[in-house]
Symmetry: C2
Subunit: 333 residues, 2 copies
């Protein structure tokens, strides 16, 4: 997709649904020019507000739908904004299950104006079923107690810290936002169910012995809607190291009447699953998302979890990802 | 699909890949006229051998591709046989991931001849993501130690036995063969990964308190390629009762270098997964596939497993499904 970007936030009011826009603004700020919000929008990723016409005047090339609602469908009242962006001179990118290119009015406008639509959630290749064979190289997978808890940010922060220390590490995107940030990957929840593990095997291929793929996790093993994706991703990634992502103040799965089990149970469940394809898999650290907590609360949570679980714990955005990378106990490079 | 059927077995040599043909011959014999085998074919579902021309002369309406290889792709050398069937006057049905209708030569032949192609593995509707909310009515799900172990046959035998006893029970198909047998269902491994649990929720909807959906299981939680599908199906089905399907002489997963864990571990893993969405879930029986064992071996396995596990055990095709239905402890109807 051609940068710079205008990030479309629609009229979203639900926590966490702006994660595509927030992820791009956090990890690729140099590509993000502004945000475009409709009346009533409760999201704000901290960029200047502008509409498509103003964004084009400032040099924007592509408007990205930065909000992904549950199920990945697009509210009808966003169509006019998408078409306005095309008419203003922008390409449009999105990570919804529903393809923008399949919506007749949007397709027609893009064709008429000669603009490009990027539906990044659609796999652009076929996959094989998994084979469960051990691959060379090392892999780290972030797993979580729930969705929207920090699995992508944690993986990106680990990649950054490992590279800063001179290690050979690649972030491997498995979601639409991660893919937009990294420019490659596979949107694992959009592949045909039979090929989840096979797609994950493809994503982190055979590599040199000291190479690390840092794989972005998806969903949660204890989530009634998404655990299948999570399990296939765990099996296909055959991680050597797992990092559990947690939000200390969360008690229930987002939007569901499901209590989050104790951390120790989450850890045991994920490690047991990972050991099917990699008997050496172990949980090395807990990554906490403390973005809705004060510094004191964050530090207290960190201390409490380290004592309770006996693993290093940190918020990679607040404390840095150093403790997680230390826990990998890598040879100095 | 219009019956009667000619079942195409290709030149398959791998155990278990003829399960669509075998399932139809076993459960819908009144619809199956013959089998069409290429030189070198090692499969035999016990029907008269005939080619498409002869099948048409005897009244066949549709040729069904009765073999599904790993990954669901069609070998190129089968194309000529499919086209020969179309030219002889037959429609063609298949349950492959790869759509027959997407293969240009087959599509062209069908269009030219005015025949219908049925690609039953393609979902004909969209699904929502799962919501994990408890539904009324009762559900039984067959799970397994591996693929191709008897999950579909067990579910069909339970439906037959329950109906014979006057209970309100419906087989719910989740695979291409089950769907061809039942005439409805969802091929769960062909849905988009994000919707596995949601599709399973759709398949066994809210029902009367004494209604039982008997859901066909898929894959295995301990299978490195397919466990994601299995887990989503377990969560979405929210079974009250689970039946573990087993082949006593199998030591490794089919075609893989993975040892099958002890039955007690398989049971614990499946029950733990099911309790996420139905805390009352329990394993009620073990169904064994003794088709490659002598009567004495089958009876010995049954006795041994009952002693080891403490649950009723039977081969529904050899001993009848009575012991499994007894284990549900239903009120007399």
């Amino acid at each position: 997709m051609r940068a710079p970007y205008l990030l479309f936030l629609g009229d979203t009011v639900l926590q966490g649904t702006d994660k595509t826009a927030a992820g791009l603004a956090q990890w690729r700020p140099e590509l993000c020019l502004g945000q475009f919000r409709l009346p009533g929008c409760a999201a704000d990723v901290g960029l200047p507000d502008m509409d498509p016409v103003e964004a084009v005047a400032r040099g924007a090339q592509t408007m990205i739908v930065g909000v992904v609602n549950v199920g990945g469908f697009m509210p009808e009242n966003w169509q006019a904004s998408i078409i306005a962006a095309l008419e203003a001179g922008l390409d449009v990118g999105a990570g919804l299950h529903q393809r923008l290119g399949d919506i007749p009015a949007i397709r027609a406008a893009a064709d008429r104006l000669g603009r490009t639509i990027h539906d990044v959630r659609q796999p652009t290749r076929g996959f094989s079923v998994g084979n469960g064979a051990k691959r060379n190289g090392k892999r780290l997978l972030t797993v979580g107690i729930d969705c929207v808890v920090g699995k992508k940010y944690t993986a990106l922060a680990i990649e950054r810290e490992m590279r800063a220390r001179g290690h050979d590490a690649d972030f491997r995107a498995t979601g639409q936002t991660g893919l937009m940030i990294a420019g490659r990957g596979v949107v694992i929840d959009a592949v045909i169910a039979d090929f989840i593990a096979g797609a994950a095997e493809w994503l982190s291929p055979d590599a040199a012995a000291d190479h690390w793929d840092i794989v972005e996790g998806q969903g949660a093993l204890g989530h009634p809607a998404y655990a299948g994706v999570t399990l296939g991703l765990i099996h296909g990634s055959q991680p050597d190291a797992l990092v559990l992502c947690h939000e200390p103040i969360r008690t229930h799965l987002l939007g569901l009447d499901y209590v989050i089990p104790p951390l120790a149970d989450c850890i045991a469940m994920n490690v047991a699953a990972a050991r099917l394809t990699n008997p050496a898999a172990k949980m090395v650290a807990v990554s906490i998302n403390t973005s809705r907590m004060s510094p004191d609360e964050a530090d207290a949570a960190r201390t409490r979890i380290e004592a309770e679980i006996g693993l290093p714990c940190c918020d990679p955005l607040r404390h840095g990802a150093g403790p997680i990378v230390d826990a990998l106990d890598l040879p100095k490079s």
